[in-house]
């Protein structure tokens, strides 16, 4: 059975550390060129269609700003 995932990022609380990006097995996420209110480049879903909802990015985020959703299709 296939799964699709999606994440929500609290962009204003992201510190731009990038540890989520290297933990994503599907290269779904990337760092933005824009900065948030704190001046950090924030993480976003560059390829939303690739997300499997594996939660890897969220468990390694030190600031816990990622929420993960998953559906079976």
């Amino acid at each position: 059975m296939a799964v699709r995932g999606a994440i929500e990022v609290e962009t204003e609380l992201c510190k731009g550390c990038g540890v989520c990006v290297v933990s994503c097995p599907s290269e779904t996420i990337a760092m933005s060129k824009q900065v948030n209110g704190k001046g950090y480049n924030y993480m976003y879903m560059a390829h939303p269609e690739k997300c499997t909802g594996c939660v890897n990015c969220a468990v390694v985020c030190p600031d816990t700003v990622i929420t993960v959703y998953r559906v079976k299709i």
Partner: protein
């Protein structure tokens, strides 16, 4: 399928633990302290012991732990958290008591306290965050600093001739009969993070079963002190810290 069809409450598989307070952590981007705080909060929530846990925060970057995890806390003088843990556990033997300490706090100024708490086999959990440096005060050498590692006080790199060797605290404490569980973990990858969480669960179980001291070292990063990006720091940690401080159980006499 549109992502708005996926992002619905019924499809949520991971979110912020209700034990993590809304206050934004003051840690630098990518700091291991944040991830370790999260593991502790999630574990306490999953074990459903929020009302029974008392944490003791250190002097060091984690001094404000009490602002981030919604449990009872006490703040200790530098290095003295294990002594407070002993006292609290004796007053409240049925509470879960843990200290949260950096390597400057535990392995330098607090060496005496930690040895005696472990030697008494006090039924508490020690969370030891080893980032090989004094993070809070600007990156000075700690007893755990690697040979050759540059810090604010070892600009040419730590030399054993003047400063001795990186101190392997977990191995040292594991030889004490009072220590029932001593393990070394990290939080640099999702797999490591999940393993580390199991170690924290096991440590709390040691307390429940009154087994003795449980000790978890987290080999950690301090990207600011190490002057690297957070992802470079994780790679550097794996390549340089792990050979000296290898992850895995050092002692397990829990029997479960």
């Amino acid at each position: 399928m549109d992502i708005t069809d996926i992002i619905k409450p019924e499809n949520k598989v991971y979110g912020k633990s209700r034990l993590l307070l809304d206050k934004v952590m003051h840690f630098c981007p990518g700091c291991s302290h944040g991830t370790i705080h999260k593991i502790i909060a999630e574990t306490i929530d999953e074990l459903d012991i929020q009302e029974q846990v008392i944490g003791i925060s250190p002097v060091g970057c984690a001094v404000l732990a009490y602002d981030y995890i919604d449990i009872d806390w006490q703040e200790a003088a530098h290095g003295r958290a294990p002594a407070l843990a002993t006292a609290i556990k004796r007053l409240y033997p049925d509470k879960y008591v843990f200290t949260y300490q950096g390597d400057g706090d535990l392995a330098s100024i607090g060496t005496g306290e930690i040895i005696h708490t472990c030697n008494r086999g006090d039924n508490v959990t020690i969370i030891f965050v080893n980032n090989a440096i004094y993070g809070m005060t600007g990156g000075q050498m700690a007893p755990t600093t690697l040979e050759g590692m540059k810090t604010a006080t070892t600009p040419k790199g730590r030399s054993y001739i003047s400063s001795g060797f990186p101190m392997k605290i977990t191995e040292m404490l594991a030889i004490l009969p009072g220590v029932v569980y001593a393990t070394r973990q990290s939080v640099d990858t999702p797999a490591a993070e999940r393993k580390a969480k199991k170690a924290v669960i096991k440590a709390f179980k040691c307390q429940k079963l009154k087994k003795g001291t449980s000790f978890i070292e987290f080999v950690s990063t301090c990207s600011s002190g190490w002057k690297m990006t957070p992802t470079e720091a994780n790679t550097w940690m794996r390549e340089n810290m792990f050979p000296v401080f290898p992850p895995g159980d050092v002692k397990d006499e829990t029997g479960f």
